[in-house]
Amino acid sequence: MIENIMTKNWGYQISQTRKINLDEVDLTIAQKILDMEPTFRLCISCGGCTATCTAGSFTDFNIRRVNLMIRRGQLDGLYEQLNHCMLCGKCHLVCPHGVNTRKVILLMKQLLSEYESHRQINKEEKNV
C-alpha cells in the first residue's frame, strides 16, 4: 500500500532552480580568455556585434550573449552555438570598445572544445 503511494506519479516534482549561483560557477575559461585577450574586459553589452552579425540573423548565435554566458560560467551548449560563427569579423569592425571579438571566439572554441571533450569523457566513464 505504502509502496503504491510512493511510486505513484502525482504530477508534481521538485523544480530546478533557474538561479545562477555566482559563488559556485566555474569561471576558469572566462578568466583564461580575459587573460589571453584583455580587450574582452571592455564589453559593455551594447549589442552592436549581434546587430551586424550575419549568423545571428538566421541562427540562435548571439555573440554578445555568448560572451556574457562565458563570464557567468554558463558553458553548456555554447560550443554548438559558436559553430554558427563564420569568423567574418564584422562584429570586430563595429565594436565601439575595440573588443577583438574574432580572437575571443577563436579562444572560446579552443577552450570550449577541451571542456566539451572532458564532459564527454566524464559522461562515458559514468556510464561504464
Partner: protein, 344 residues
C-alpha cells in the same frame, strides 16, 4: 581697479558670463569673438533641457549683461596665435592686431562631432539622416520637424553615442549631454507631431543632471517615447527612401530592424580647433584636445599655465548650466589671482 589686461577668448555662454561677472567685480575685460554674433553654439539651439526654456532667453540675458562699460567686445576677430612671453601673453588676432594680456581666459568651447566620420550611419549619404544640431536648427527656424523632402515624419529614430564612447573614432569619453538631449528632442517631436513614433536607441541612458530623470520619465509617461537598448550597427536606405536601421534589442537578445522616416544622430562634443590649439601649444592637453585644469577639484578654473584660465567646454563636455556656473567661478578665481601675490 586694476590696470591688468584681461582677454577672454570666445564669446559663447562661458566666455560672455565670465566677462560679465568680472565686469561686475570692477575689472575691464576684452572679449574676442571670431563670429559676427555672440552666443556660440547656443544661438543655434531651440529649447534647453530639462525645462524646455527658450535658448534665446539665456542668450538675451547674457547679451544684456554684457552691455557694460567694463566690457569691450571685438566681434569677427579670432585669436590666431598666442605665446607666453615672461608674465604676459602675446595674442595675434585674425585682424592682424597684437594684444598683450596679463590674464587669458580660454573660453574656446567645443565643436559638434562630424557625423560623416561614422560612415555606417549614412550621414550626408542618405537624405534623411540628421544630426542633433540640425534638429535644433530646424526647430528654431521652422518650428517643426520635417524630412528633407518637407514631409511630416511618421517614425523617427534617435541614435545615441554618435562619436562618444567609441574607440573607432578615438573618443573613449561620454559627452554627457546627448542622452538628455535625445530625450528632449523625442518629446519635442511627439508634442509637435502627435501621430509620430519616436524610438531612442541607447547603450545607457545617463540622466546625470537635476531633473533629467524626471524628463526621461515624462517622455515615457506623457509622450510614449520608445526606448530600445542596443547600439545601432548600421543604417541603409530602402527603395522607398526610408532609412532602415539594424540593432540588437539586447534586453530581448534578438537582432531588430526598423524602417524610419528620419534618423537623428546624437553627435558628440569634441574640442574646438582653438581649444585644441591652445591645449597643444601650451602642453596642457587633458585628452582628446581639451584643456586640462590645474586640479579637477581644487583649482578647476586655473590651467597649469600661470595667468591662463579655462572655462566651460574648452575643458570637456559640460551642460550649459555647468558652463554658466563655471564662468562665475572663473571670474571669482581670476579676481582672487589678481588680488593675491604680486599680480595686482
Amino acid at each position: 581697479m586694476s590696470n591688468k589686461k584681461i582677454v577672454v577668448i570666445g564669446g559663447g555662454p562661458g566666455g560672455l558670463e565670465t566677462a560679465n561677472a568680472l565686469a561686475r567685480l570692477g575689472y575691464s575685460v576684452e572679449v574676442l569673438e571670431k563670429e559676427e554674433v555672440l552666443g556660440g553654439h547656443i544661438r543655434h539651439w531651440y529649447k534647453l533641457f530639462p525645462n524646455l526654456k527658450d535658448a534665446d532667453e539665456v542668450i538675451d540675458f547674457l547679451k544684456e549683461r554684457a552691455k557694460n562699460p567694463n566690457i569691450t567686445i571685438s566681434m569677427g576677430e579670432a585669436m590666431s596665435e598666442m605665446t607666453k612671453n615672461g608674465n604676459t601673453f602675446e595674442i595675434k588676432t585674425s585682424k592682424g592686431r597684437d594684444i598683450t594680456a596679463d590674464v587669458v581666459i580660454a573660453a574656446t568651447g567645443f565643436e559638434a562631432f562630424k557625423a560623416e566620420r561614422k560612415e555606417e550611419f549614412g550621414y550626408s549619404v542618405y537624405n534623411n539622416v540628421f544630426t542633433s544640431v540640425e534638429i535644433e536648427e530646424m526647430l528654431r527656424s521652422k518650428g517643426t520637424v520635417t524630412t528633407r523632402e518637407g514631409k511630416v515624419p511618421q517614425t523617427v529614430a534617435i541614435v545615441h553615442c554618435v562619436g562618444s564612447r567609441d574607440e573607432k573614432v578615438g573618443n573613449f569619453y561620454c559627452s554627457r549631454v546627448c542622452c538628455i538631449c535625445g530625450v528632449k528632442q523625442a518629446i519635442e517631436i511627439r508634442k509637435l507631431l502627435p501621430d509620430s513614433q519616436v524610438f531612442n536607441y541607447y547603450m545607457d541612458m545617463r540622466m546625470t543632471g537635476q531633473y533629467f530623470e524626471e524628463l526621461y520619465r515624462e517622455s515615457q509617461e506623457k509622450w510614449g517615447v520608445h526606448y530600445i537598448r542596443g547600439r545601432v550597427s548600421e543604417a541603409s536606405q530602402t527603395i522607398d527612401g526610408m532609412i532602415q536601421i539594424k540593432a540588437e534589442d539586447t534586453l530581448l537578445a534578438k537582432p531588430v530592424i526598423k524602417k524610419v522616416d528620419m534618423l537623428i544622430l546624437m553627435v558628440a562634443i569634441e574640442a574646438s580647433p582653438s581649444t585644441a590649439q591652445i591645449a597643444k601649444q601650451f602642453d596642457i592637453e587633458y585628452d582628446y584636445g581639451f584643456i586640462r585644469s590645474r586640479d579637477r577639484h581644487n583649482e578647476d578654473q586655473y590651467t597649469p599655465v600661470d595667468g591662463m584660465f579655462a572655462v566651460g567646454t574648452a575643458k570637456g563636455p559640460q551642460t550649459l548650466k555647468e558652463t554658466l556656473a563655471d564662468a562665475r567661478a572663473t571670474a571669482e578665481q581670476v579676481a582672487e589671482y589678481l588680488k593675491t601675490s604680486s599680480n595686482e
